[in-house]
Symmetry: C2
Subunit: 224 residues, 2 copies
């Protein structure tokens, strides 16, 4: 994988193990961030790291998280505490002839950054819409936007996607030469997050039809 | 959700936000750990948190990670650096009538622990088998076990699952009373990690049939 001039890797985000799996171009990093529904955010409190799953959205070269204003995580992140935001997409199980070479096909992104609390109302409003649309395209115009009170109760933190790297494994198993004669099946079991049939809210008023974005739900470029 | 005597929560792992979503019984925590294919591990280097995806396996009340002996993460974890291991299963998109009440259905576990490097060969051998079986049940006996050299090149770290908590959201959206008259569809789009048709290694010898565990692959208790 190439490492173009637009690369965003630093000494700290350089892929150390399996260096051939490291990719750093922004287009790749953005496509992984955009396909993932959740990220895992790392931050520390008194030397204890915490890793918390949450929704994210990328807008241009910024990544935004949101949460309750009373959340400890949002407070820490908004104060600019050192953070790590990691996104992982599982693409398959790699079944090699040896246990040792078993692996996963995946695409992941690691971002190191210090966040800033977003207080500007217009920026927050843009982020709220982007968050809804990141999860379900078409939903923002088909549901109620936040009241001022709801917006005030929601903290938003902005991260620059400057120090970031992606790591990707794809393709078949890589067995050692001496294992090729073994009688075991080898290959990949593809994996993808798939949507099932939408379940209407039990209190839904009669006559409201299930929208197409729920019936045909899938992630962008999520292909098995 | 109940909090039985077997609970493993501490002051640090107590679910702070949405306390009604916190569950702490070991059975629930174990079932989430066992269903998940990967975890996200948090550790710090010079005050910078890192969050790295990796495979885990639970054996009784221990959680094991593995990696290259030359991996910085494995070294840090094996030294007993404060760590956080988080596992998240996405079960659905919760589409409420308001943006504010949009949510996800999920099951997650957060474990705080300091790891210990496993050096005992027998314990390592058990863990290697458990790791393969955790990913694909039935695969360990249908592929080659590690050589001594491969075992020596693989670091294993053990964590006690003592300080742990689970967080679960399930069911329909929870809209506010005043939104119930809105004309928007509301409900859940179920999500699950699904396997596609296995892809045989291009170098697979003719006559080796695709095993049933690859053809019918699914996670334990992964139901949409």
């Amino acid at each position: 994988m190439a490492e173009p001039a637009s690369g965003a890797a630093s000494e700290r985000t350089k892929v150390r193990r399996s260096a051939k799996r490291g990719v750093y171009d922004r287009e790749t990093i953005y496509s992984i961030l955009d396909e993932a529904l959740i990220c895992h955010v790392g931050f520390a409190v008194d030397d204890q790291p915490f890793v918390i799953p949450t929704i994210h959205v990328r807008v241009d070269d910024k990544l935004y998280l949101h949460g309750s204003t009373s959340s400890r995580m949002m407070r820490r992140l908004g104060e600019g505490s050192a953070a790590c935001v990691t996104v992982t997409l599982l693409d398959g199980l790699v079944l090699a002839r040896s246990w040792f070479h078993h692996s996963m096909n995946y695409r992941s992104v690691v971002i190191l950054a210090r966040g800033s609390a977003v207080t500007d109302r217009e920026e927050k409003a843009l982020v709220f819409r982007a968050l809804v649309e990141q999860v379900v395209r078409g939903r923002a115009d088909d549901s109620r936007a936040p009241t001022e009170q709801e917006a005030d109760a929601t903290a938003v933190v902005r991260f620059s996607i400057d120090e970031a790297s992606a790591k990707i494994r794809g393709g078949p198993p890589m067995d050692t030469e001496t294992d090729m004669e073994l009688p075991h099946w080898a290959g990949v079991v593809p994996l993808a997050l798939r949507a099932g049939a939408p379940l209407a809210d039990p209190t839904l008023a009669p006559g409201i039809v299930t929208p197409k974005y729920a019936l045909d739900y899938r992630r962008p470029s999520n292909g098995v």
